[in-house]
């Protein structure tokens, strides 16, 4: 079991002929993901890697191949339009990897996707992987292992670090989602928690947050209301100074709000198992699942 993607997912890659898009499309295919189509306007009719047909428009690709998930590698000035095109063409899930999309573009995109019933993950995220079934993103597949712990994170390498810890202690993952480090994202910690709660294949959730925004606090409020699964949480940026953007566009303590301390406090109060060190994630999950 899993959330968002599985072995039945039919994946479309927007920007498949670009350097990033082609590299990662290949990696996804190698992992075993069912990449059924690519889209690059003007490259319609070509074949990618001799096996994946390329189309000029997402609508064409969806009609021809039944693609239901789109993985988007499109440069920032065109990324918002690409996500909207995917939503308009009726894909169920759009995963936008692109970093550097203007925040107000994403406001429109999120509204547009909501109005059309398309779930957006990202932007500025590593994507989603259901180990053993389907990788739709840029994460290194080999650190993952099939299993029953869900992982949600705003970051990339820190997630790989956490997943690697889990895998090393023998704990597999049901689905791992990088929700993205931008201030405006399509899918939040809370959204993922909701889905994991409904997933029979998930026994616990690792939630990795960071400074900035209030997504972790909202997740905490949700968890506090009888969340059925144990949640193990880490918040990055406990030592980050206020008013400075820490790499991610969304990682900033603004007006005294969005500190790691606040988020850890809220999560602890909600009953989550909050670790202070990123090195303790794997051990804590092992401990919680052993209880």
């Amino acid at each position: 079991m899993s959330i968002f993607v599985d072995s039945d997912s039919r994946i479309l890659v927007q920007g498949i002929t670009g350097s990033e898009g082609s590299f990662h499309a290949r990696q996804c295919i190698e992992y075993g993901s069912n990449v059924v189509a690519g889209v690059t306007p003007g490259k319609g009719g070509q074949m990618f890697e001799d096996t994946v047909p390329v189309f000029n428009t997402v609508a064409e690709a969806v009609t021809a191949t039944g693609a239901d998930v789109s993985l988007i590698f499109v440069p920032p000035p065109f990324a918002a339009d690409a996500v909207m095109e995917a939503a308009d063409a009726g894909v169920r899930l759009a995963i936008c990897i692109t970093e550097g999309v203007p925040a107000l573009d994403m406001v429109d995109v999120v509204g547009y996707c909501n109005a059309r019933g398309t779930r957006l993950i990202g932007p500025n995220c590593p994507g989603v992987i259901t180990p053993g079934q389907c990788k739709v993103g840029i994460m290194p597949g080999f650190v993952h292992k099939e299993g029953r712990v869900g992982v949600i994170s705003r970051s990339g390498t820190l997630t790989y670090e956490a997943v690697d810890q889990l895998t090393r202690v023998g704990i597999g993952q049901s689905t791992c989602i990088g929700i993205g480090g931008d201030p405006v994202i399509g899918t939040t910690h809370r959204d993922c928690l909701e889905r994991f709660a409904e997933d029979e294949g998930t026994d616990a959730v690792v939630m990795i947050g960071e400074i900035g925004g209030s997504g972790e606090e909202e997740a905490a409020a949700y968890i506090a209301d009888d969340y059925p699964l144990p949640v193990i949480a880490f918040i990055a940026g406990q030592t980050a100074p206020p008013g400075k953007r820490m790499g991610h566009a969304g990682a900033i303590i603004a007006g005294g709000k969005g500190t790691a301390a606040e988020k850890m406090k809220a999560l602890t109060a909600a009953g989550a198992h909050v670790v202070e060190s990123p090195s303790e994630i794997g051990a804590k999950v092992l401990e919680v699942l052993g209880d």
């Binding site: 990696q27 920032p76 000035p77 550097g100 203007p102 925040a103 107000l104 573009d105 994403m106 406001v107 429109d108 999120v110 509204g111 547009y112 909501n114 840029i138 290194p140 650190v143 994170s153 705003r154 970051s155 990339g156 390498t157 820190l158 997630t159 790989y160 670090e161 690697d164 480090g181 201030p183 405006v184 994202i185 990795i208 960071e210 400074i211 900035g212 925004g213 209030s214 997504g215 880490f234 990055a236 940026g237 406990q238 030592t239 980050a240 100074p241 008013g243 400075k244 953007r245 820490m246 790499g247 991610h248 969304g250 990682a251 007006g255 005294g256 202070e276 060190s277 990123p278 090195s279």
Partner: protein, 394 residues
């Protein structure tokens, strides 16, 4: 990217918002000339305002009222070239290179109004309060009910009825309500058209004859959107920024200077923050945040090292790379090559994990350079903290 008050006001004036007459001055003489013009045009007093990006200028002595041109020149002379310390700057303060000389206004009522991004509802929001002049964070603490919000729905934006509603909810009526509503709509349009992340007028002044004037203004522009605002990008004033942060930005590196002694270089922003946290857990203090990015090419690693080592307090360096798509053996080679081009006179702890981590570690061990090699993040942090304190003692 933050804009100065005078830049923000020029943008508002272009869009039909009423702002007081004012002139930029970079010297006491220019300030005197500017003040003379304003007095000649009928101002009873003029304000001399330090143009810095930090808020709280009034409390820091960055805003002075002058009754004569000489007095304005005197205030300007004292401010220019000084470091202004406000509640929002560090103790070192920020340099004042420019002052803005501005005519006065007949203040009957002061409001606060700003557009910002509501990350939670994922759309822009107008925040307003009748307690103008005050920090909105302060109002949020002391009197949260005084804050009025109107959201800009995706696709629809801010509608006229919303600004009218806002004006009445602020307790205005008649001409003042209409004027404030119109001004807020213009502010919201500016926020949208300029890709701002913050557009603030504080205070928005209602005059004795019910005119509406923006007495202070502040724009913060979304860096990710600057590619489509070449005119705004030119307004960039880097003088208040950390020189190292500027240099890092030129190399597309994300660097933030901190007060500690353990320099760190990490691939990925989240892991970089986590590494800082782990240094702290190990009893040390990070000297910086530095995300060298996903690729961690030789050139990037070298640039990162160069910048990192300029941190004055750096007594040890921690390199933490999680190899995903990028293989650790390649990263190891890159680090060695990069270190060949940069003088590093402090201990360097390297922790490689992920793809080909063991191979990478082996390459480091066998190189001519001296590395402390660690396997886990905790181990790496501890070694780095120890090395830094040893270095500090030495």
């Amino acid at each position: 990217m933050k804009l100065h008050e005078y830049q923000s006001k020029a943008l508002l004036r272009e869009r039909g918002v009423t702002v007081p007459d004012g002139h930029v001055a970079a010297s006491a003489d220019e300030a005197r000339a500017a003040a003379e013009k304003l007095f000649a045009a009928g101002s009873a007093r003029v304000a001399v305002k330090a143009q810095v990006h930090a808020g709280g200028r009034g409390k820091g002595g960055g805003i002075k009222l002058a009754s004569t041109a000489d007095e304005a020149a005197e205030f300007a002379g004292a401010m220019l070239g000084s470091q202004l310390v406000t509640p929002q700057t560090g103790t070192e303060g920020v340099p004042v290179n420019t002052v803005y000389i501005e005519g006065g206004a007949d203040i009957a009522n002061e409001l606060y109004v700003a557009l910002t991004l509501d990350r939670s509802s994922r759309c822009p929001v107008v925040i307003a309060s009748a307690e103008g002049g005050m920090d909105i964070e302060e109002v949020a603490e002391t009197n949260p009910d005084a804050i009025i919000r109107e959201h800009c729905a995706p696709g629809w934006g801010l509608r006229p009825f919303q600004v009218t509603r806002l004006a009445y909810n602020l307790g205005l009526s008649g001409k003042a309500a209409r004027g404030a509503a119109a001004t807020i709509l213009k502010l919201a349009n500016a926020y949208r058209d300029l890709d701002a992340s913050l557009a603030e007028i504080n205070p928005l002044v209602i005059t004795g004859d019910d005119n509406v004037i923006a007495l202070d203004a502040k724009f913060d522009i979304d860096d990710n959107a600057l590619y489509r605002h070449a005119d705004l990008a030119e307004l960039h004033d880097p003088s208040e920024e950390e020189p190292l942060e500027l240099e890092a930005a030129e190399h597309s590196l994300s660097y933030v200077a901190l007060d500690g002694t353990v320099g760190c270089m990490v691939n990925g922003a989240g892991l970089a923050m986590g590494t800082m946290d782990e240094i702290s857990n190990a009893g040390g203090f990070p000297a910086n945040f530095l995300d060298v990015g996903g690729g961690a090419s030789v050139e990037r690693v070298a640039n990162a090292f160069r910048i990192l080592m300029k941190g004055e307090r750096v007594s040890a360096v921690l390199i933490n790379i999680f190899g995903g798509i990028v293989r650790c053996d390649r990263v190891a080679k890159g680090v060695i090559e990069a270190l060949g081009t940069v003088e590093v006179n402090v201990p360097v702890v390297v922790r490689l994990q992920g793809t080909n981590a063991e191979e990478g570690r082996e390459i480091l061990r066998q190189s001519d350079l001296e590395f402390l090699v660690a396997e886990t993040l905790r181990e790496a942090a501890e070694k780095a903290v120890n090395a830094a304190s040893g270095q500090a003692e030495a």
